[in-house]
């Protein structure tokens, strides 16, 4: 019962700001509404007892990525408070497609038999994650560093090209 209430509250915390992100005409307000969305997702991770991932979610998403997005917004024209146009002529078409997709998903959702999970969720704490990516998933771990390197180089190349 408590879990259901928590789920509903967290869902509202995620969805309402998400709607604001997409529909607000003030782009900074739009970017700031991402923060409650990220924090709501943190709440979900906690409900699944994935503590380390929750901490990282706050640290990276609400801490680093929001700052990056805000910096970018302030570099572009949106930072002057000019209203941003969020809707265009294709809204009816888009709405129809979205509703159709939602309908399909709901049909699949209610027709599938979802087996209830039994037992405790597996331990997702920092120690088990660490052991995992240092032993079983070590290749993925090293490839991740390459991906990070690539994104760093790529972004620097693109940003510097404008000078």
């Amino acid at each position: 019962m408590g879990e259901l209430a928590a789920f509903i509250v967290l869902s509202l915390v995620i969805l309402i700001p998400a709607v604001i992100v997409v529909t607000s005409r003030n782009i900074v307000r739009s970017a700031l509404s991402l923060v409650p969305t990220f924090l709501g997702v943190t709440g979900f991770y906690i409900m699944l007892q994935a503590e380390f991932v929750a901490g990282i979610q706050v640290l990276i998403y609400a801490g680093a990525i929001t700052v990056l997005i805000l910096f970018v917004i302030m570099l572009t024209e949106g930072g002057s408070g000019v209203d941003v146009r969020q809707m265009n002529e294709q809204v009816p078409l888009g709405a129809t497609a979205a509703l159709w997709l939602a309908f399909l998903i709901l049909v699949v959702l209610f027709r599938t038999q979802w087996p209830a999970a039994s037992g405790q969720p597996p331990a997702y704490n920092a120690a088990t994650i660490g052991s995992a990516f240092l032993s079983s998933y070590v290749l993925i771990f090293e490839v991740t560093s390459l991906v990070l390197l690539l994104s760093l180089i790529g972004a620097i190349v693109i940003a510097r090209r404008e000078e």
Binding site: S135, L149, L152
Partner: protein
């Protein structure tokens, strides 16, 4: 209730209580302080001069570059946290894996350094 959930429930309550307690003095001010609205008061501050021009100016790409390098290294530090607490139990191999990981990212840092992404001027 599992410990993890309880821990973060406390964090959530702290955040809510913090917001409420931070708003209390603002409400006190709203009750006590005068509210004389003069147009001059609402001018933005510019050391006594009437400001001209927009509040937004063309900013350099350097802010973005710093934020970007920060995000990449923040993600790297995230990998360091679990490693730091288990590497001793896993033997020398775990240490060398991290050396490779950090090495690759140090190459990235060197690249950013050479390309001037870390310059402020």
């Amino acid at each position: 209730m599992p410990k993890v959930v309880l821990d973060w429930l406390y964090v959530g309550v702290f955040a809510v209580v913090g917001v409420v307690l931070a708003v209390v003095p603002l409400v006190v001010v709203w009750l006590l302080a005068p509210r004389l609205s003069l147009p001059q008061k609402r001018l933005t501050y510019e050391s006594g001069v009437v400001p001209f021009g927009q509040a937004w100016a063309q900013f350099n790409v350097r802010y973005y570059l710093f934020a970007l390098v920060f995000v990449v290294f923040d993600v790297e530090v995230i990998y360091l946290y679990p490693w730091a607490i288990v590497f001793r139990q896993l033997g020398a191999f775990a240490f060398y894996e991290m050396v490779i990981f950090l090495g690759i990212l140090l190459v990235g840092l060197a690249y950013a350094w050479r390309k001037g992404a870390l310059e402020w001027v």
